[in-house]
Structure formats: C-alpha cells, structure tokens
C-alpha cells in the first residue's frame, strides 16, 4: 500500500471537524442506555428487567404489541425490552447463540416443533410444576394436545400460547352464487376429493378465473402444509425414530400429489402463485377458496374481502381428521441468573400474555388457554371458533433434529411438493427427490 506523504496543510480544519464528530459521538454514547458500556465489562443486567424475544410480524406483530403495552401498563416497575426478529432458521440460530453466549432473553417464543430440539440441546429451562401452578399456569389450564405435544420425557419446558392450523378461507359471495352455502349460510361440507374438485369447479364458474388458490412457488412452507394435511388424513408419515428413518409411503404420497396436481392441471387452481400473489388473488375475488394458515385473517379483514373461514376439509375419510398445524409456545432459555425473582417475573409475564388470549385470538390463532377457549366469549368469536376443533387434530411436523416449522425439513419437502403443484415436476420425481434429500439428513448423526 502506498501512503501519501502530504504536508499537514488543512489539518487544523480537519482536526476541528474531527473534534466536532468526536463530541457528537460522545454525546450519543452518553445518551444510550448503560447496556452499551456493559459490552466492555460483560456485566450483568440490572434487576427488574425483562427481555422478551418473538418472531411476530404483520398483524400478529401489531397484536403482540398491544398485549405488551397492556403488560407494561400493569407492571410499570418492570423494564420490558421486547425484540422482534425475522422468523425461521435465523430466529432459532440467534436464540441458540444467545443462550450459549449467556445473554438469552428471559422469555422467548418458540414453535412447538422447534422447541424439543432446544430441549435436547440443553438450551431451555425445565418448568417446575409448582412454579407454574403458582402463576395459574398448571397443565390442566391448557388444551391437552398442545400441552402433551410439548412434553419431553414427561417434563414441561414450554407454555403453549395457541395452535395455528392450516385452514380454508372462502369467499362468501362467490360460494353463495355457486350454491355452496347451506340454508344457515355455512359452507356445505367437502367430504371427498370429488366433492372438493366439484366445489372448486363451481367456484371457478363464478369467479371466471380460478376456483381456489394455494401458494406454490418461492415458498416452501405452504406446499408442505397442504400436503401434510392430506397425507396425514391418509395416515401417512414422512420420518420416524427421531428423524433417523425416512418412511415415506409412496402410494399415499403419490395419491396426494396427484390430487394436488390435478387441481392445477385442470385449471381449478393457478399452477404458479407465490405467497403474496395467492393473497392478492383471493382478496380480489379471482379465486373463491384460499388455503393458508389462519393468520392471514387480518389481511382479508383489512382488504374488506367478503370471506369466512373453516376447518381444512376432511377429504380422506379412511382415517380420523387431521390437519397440519404448529403452536407458538413461551419458553425460558437457560439463563445464568437462576434467582426465583427472575423466574417469577418471567412466568408473571407469560400469565399476562395468556390473560390476553382474546386479543391474540382475534388474529386468527386458536387459543390453547382453556379459561378463554371454553368461554362464551370465544364461542361467539367468528370465524375463529369455526375451526377451533383443528387444535385437537393438529398434525405437528415429525420430530428430528432437522425438522420443525421453517426448518430444513420443510424447505426440502416443500420445494419438491411446490414443484408438483406448479407443474414443474411429476409426483414420482417429487417423492424420489424428497426421499433422497431426507435420507441425507437422516444419515447425518444428530449434533444435539
């Protein structure tokens, strides 16, 4: 590198400017919280704080903020610092690294399907039943499916907030014109693949574009969710033995994929639709049905779409009803400070969130807190209560170190399934692709 050897003319001016900049910097530094300087000393945070991490964007984020505001109003003495991070792998990576680095949040949101791996990795704190009971969070306060699915060796590590199933949105105007609504205004049941296809055809005649829509490209979770819902109704499994075995049932998987492909090849669904595009089509009435997690409720309420929601249909009647779902849970990451005060503050916070289940349910999620779920208030909350039964039929993603919401598992399977729906791949190819990719993951010894 060449270094210029210039005389120091003008240095005084620069020194002046530099001095000003330094002064400004010092001003800002003194203005920030003392946390900044704690980065030099690795000191503990002061007592009375509560750090909370979540992954809620969009409408969920707005509702969560309302709930946090309420909590803060009731607990003015607690310095709450809530952080929202982008969801999926980055969120869980950050949460793990923060826990390993001994600066985890006091409370964090985790998907139920991601929580178990963190337990295995020793990153979460076990929740003592007595402490839970003290804050009104005993096991019997929660729906059995969400509570039990979260246990590891019979021990509790998470407190379920909700279940978020895959559901069916339908345009009420379109369905009425298509003759799909009964006398009471409810959708006539779609109880077989044929009935489903027929309903889509009739809806298509009304919209003039498509019967229904599901996101197929640039998106892996949605194709996985619709596949898993139908495949589970057939009793199919993808992986077993903690992810060490790949047990895809070729016949069942091919049946589901062929059915999904028939919807797009017959022009009842658009073959190519990304997440935002599928929303737009339903919102603008180009499709009578829309398949997605219930959280999109706020989008269509804002867009003033004439719509309602119900359970994802039970098409394969050989087995019991099943639908892909996951749950948001509260977890307490392993923390260097194990004082009872901190634990109480954290559980108190969780209890306050659950007390606001009404606010949360307005965003579409099925509450898992029974005092609210079983109240008349929730029964009257429409269309949310229409699909509350999905919580007990939830088909959670199978266990494995590479599995869970937004994980490699969903990316690998969802991209193969999406390619079939989009007409870029055949069902047989997709099954082969899923199997070989999953086998690679299954063969890898679990790092946890």
């Amino acid at each position: 590198m060449h270094v210029p050897r210039t005389p120091h003319a003008g240095l005084s001016r620069r020194r002046l400017l530099g001095g000003l900049a330094a002064a400004a910097g010092a001003g800002v530094l003194s203005g920030c919280s003392s946390d900044v300087l704690s980065g030099l000393t690795a000191s503990r945070e002061e007592a009375g704080t509560l750090a909370y991490w979540n992954l809620f964007g969009g409408g969920d984020g707005v509702r969560m903020q309302q709930m946090l505001d309420t909590y803060q109003r009731d607990h003015a003495q607690v310095a709450l610092s809530a952080t929202t991070l982008a969801w999926g792998n980055p969120y869980y990576t950050k949460l793990s690294l923060a826990t390993i680095g001994d600066k985890p949040p006091d409370v964090a949101i985790s998907h139920l399907t991601r929580m178990k791996n963190m337990v295995e990795a020793g990153l979460l704190q076990e929740l003592d039943p007595a402490a839970l009971a003290r804050h009104g969070l005993a096991a019997d306060r929660f729906t059995p499916r969400t509570w039990e699915a979260g246990l590891v060796d019979g021990r509790a590590y998470s407190i379920p907030l909700d279940t978020h199933p895959f559901v069916m949105f339908y345009n009420t105007d379109v369905c009425e014109k298509a003759g799909l609504l009964g006398a009471d205004g409810a959708l006539t049941p779609l109880d077989s693949p044929e009935a489903f296809t027929d309903a889509m055809r009739r809806a298509k005649q009304v919209t003039g574009a498509y019967g229904g829509v599901v996101a197929s490209i640039s998106e892996t979770s949605t194709p996985w969710r619709i596949f898993q819902s139908l495949y589970s109704q057939l009793g199919g499994q993808v992986i077993s033995d903690q992810g060490r075995e790949v047990v895809i049932d070729d016949a069942k998987a091919t049946e589901v994929l062929t059915f999904l492909r028939s919807l797009t090849s017959d022009g009842l669904f658009p073959a190519v639709a990304d997440y935002q595009g599928s929303i737009a089509m339903f919102a603008e009435g180009q499709a009578g049905f829309y398949f997605q997690g219930e959280w999109e409720i706020s989008t269509f309420q804002t867009a003033k779409t004439p719509f309602s929601m119900t359970l994802f249909p039970h098409l394969y009647r050989e087995g019991p009803y099943a639908v892909q779902a996951d749950s948001h849970t509260f977890v307490l990451p392993r923390h260097p400070d194990t004082s009872p005060e901190r634990l109480d503050r954290a559980l108190e916070f969780v209890a306050s969130m659950l007390d606001q289940s009404r606010t949360w349910a307005e965003g579409g999620h099925v509450p898992s807190y029974r005092p609210f779920l079983e109240s008349a208030e929730f029964r009257d909350l429409k269309p949310q209560s229409n699909y509350a039964a999905a919580a007990e039929a939830a088909a959670y993603d199978a266990e494995g170190w590479y599995s869970g919401s937004g994980s490699n598992f969903e990316i690998v399977t969802g991209s193969a399934i999406g390619a079939v729906i989009a007409g870029q791949s055949t069902p047989a190819t997709a099954v082969g692709r899923m199997r070989s990719a999953l086998r690679d993951l299954a063969r890898t010894p679990s790092p946890i």
Partner: protein
C-alpha cells in the same frame, strides 16, 4: 498520488537490508515491539486455525462441550459427497462470474470517462464511491425494497417502459443475478478508485505525443490506456475474485440463501451447518476445504504477478 506506487505483494517479499551500524541487544527490543501483535496473532489467528483443523476431524457440536467423538476424515468425505456443499461452491462461483466482469469493465469505463472530465470529479467520486462505504445491511435493506414485488421501484419503473419484471429475489433463476446487480452497485466504487489512480499514473505526455501523431481518442485508449492499466486490471480482478469467494452478507441479508437454497454461498453453508444445525466439526471441515480454494486462487494470483514482474 506520487509515482512510487508499490506493486501488489511484490515489495514486502524482500525485506530491505537493515542499516549496518546498530547497537547490540536488538533481539530483546525486537521481541518487545513484536509482542503485542504476536500475542494477538497467536491467540486469535494461528491458535484458532490449529484448533479449527483439529476440530474438523471430530464430531464437535455447538451445544456440547469438548470435541465430541473422533470422526477421522468423515467430515471431509461427507462434504465432498454432499450435493449441498458442491452447489454452494457453484453458487459462489456463479456469483463470481456474474459480478467480476461487470465490476471490472464498468469501473474501467467510468474511470476512463471521469479521467477526461476536468471539473466536478468529486461528484462522480461521491456517486460511485458512496455506496461502497455503506454497511451491507443498509445496502440490503434498500435493495430489498427496490426489488419488492408490486411496489418496488424496479418493477414499477420497468412496467412504465412495458417490461414485466420477474420476481427478482423470489425466483431461483433471478435471485442470483439480482444479488449481483446489488453487489455491482455497492462495490463498483472501490474498483473505480483503483482505476482512477492507475490512470493518473500514465504520463500525460504519452497522450500528447500520440495526439500529435494523429491518434484519435479511441486509438489512444486501445494503444495506451488499456496496456498501461494491465497491472491494475490484474489487481482488480484478483481482489474481486477473492472478495466474491468470501461472499456472505448479501445472501444472508437478502435471500437467506433461498429460494430453495438457490443462492446459498459457501460461507453461508458453513454458517448454516455450524450455527443453525450445531455441527461445528463438519463446519470446520468445510471451512478448511474453502481455505484450500482461497489458497489455490491466491497461488494463481502470485504466479500472474510474478510473470508480470518479469515482463516489465
């Protein structure tokens, strides 16, 4: 710029003779002067390098203490057989191919044009160089917004001239070119400055002489400028290739390696395996393989520079 610019890596290779008349006892003083650097170098570069090499032979996990079980060459064979590893290498290479030529050609052209402009050069320096100094996160946020479907500036702008924009970051085919465009916008300024400096090294009288000789601007560029900038171009190309090999920020920030892993670079593969999947041993092995690739590229660089030295 003065004219004593140093050629890349050539000068430091031969330590100049220390002057002859020196008091004795320099060994101890030298140790003292080298110690602060030496300690940090051992603790944070050499030490970890050795530790990383050892770790790559074990099934070390992020969430378990110690090295874990001995894996032999298991991590290496797994990486070499892994389609994901090879595709991440290919993505890195594809990114290099997409960014390097435009970054060289455009920077050269812009510098050439700017060199001919007598006034307002500060403005061009600002326009082209300002993006380079911004953090990748700022650049990524701006460009994610530019690429947003339906309301991004690019889609709306192209629609005005009747072009239907692709789903930039959402389409596996377009995601990498989109990242390349962002990268070109971001880092072009660096090469621009290098070329501008190189141009100023060319003696003006060469141009004057050739102009008198009847050479037009185009001939001057071809006969004088391009050959005289040969060495700068080598430098730019090598720095560019090495920087591209280490690409991480743009992918991590703008696509998280997606869609469907179509833009995952080697470094992000290391990050994913080590810190998302907790597989530290495997990630260390991939790091070592990646290091070999960087070494190979650097070796090519040295060879080229050596040859150029000889030619001059």
């Amino acid at each position: 710029m003065s004219t004593e610019t140093v050629t890349p890596a050539a000068r430091p290779v031969q330590p100049p003779e220390p002057s002859t008349a020196r008091p004795p006892g320099q060994g101890r003083a030298a140790t003292g002067f080298l110690l602060p650097f030496g300690l940090l170098y051992l603790a944070f570069i050499l030490g970890p390098a050795v530790y990383g090499l050892i770790m790559s032979f074990f099934d070390a996990s992020l969430v378990r203490p110690g090295l874990g079980g001995f894996a032999g060459f298991g991590n290496y064979t797994e990486a070499l057989q892994s389609a994901d590893f090879w595709s991440s290498l290919w993505h890195t290479l594809w990114f290099t191919i997409l960014t390097t030529p435009p970054l060289i050609v455009l920077a050269f052209v812009f510098a050439l044009l700017a060199d001919r402009v007598s006034r307002g050069r500060w403005f061009f320096r600002l326009a082209f160089f300002a993006p380079f100094i911004l953090p990748s996160a700022v650049v990524a946020l701006i460009w994610i917004f530019m690429y947003t479907p339906e309301l991004g500036l690019l889609e709306v702008g192209l629609a005005k001239i009747g072009v239907t924009a692709p789903a930039w970051l959402g389409d596996p085919t377009w995601a990498m070119p989109s990242l390349a465009v962002t990268t070109i916008w971001w880092t072009l300024g660096f090469n621009f400055i290098l070329y501008l400096a190189g141009l100023q090294e060319i003696p003006r009288d060469l141009y004057e002489a050739s102009a008198i000789d009847g050479a037009g601007p185009w001939q001057q560029i071809r006969r004088i400028t391009i050959p005289m900038l040969g060495r700068t171009t080598t430098l730019v190309a090598v720095l560019q290739v090495i920087a591209s090999l280490k690409v991480f920020d743009q992918m991590y920030l703008m696509t998280t390696g997606g869609p469907d892993f179509a833009t995952r670079s080697v470094l992000q593969y290391v990050y994913d395996q080590g810190f998302t999947n907790f597989r530290l041993g495997y990630a260390a092995a991939v790091s070592m393989l990646f290091f070999l690739v960087v070494l190979a590229v650097s070796a090519v660089w040295f060879t080229i520079v050596r040859r150029q030295e000889k030619e001059v």
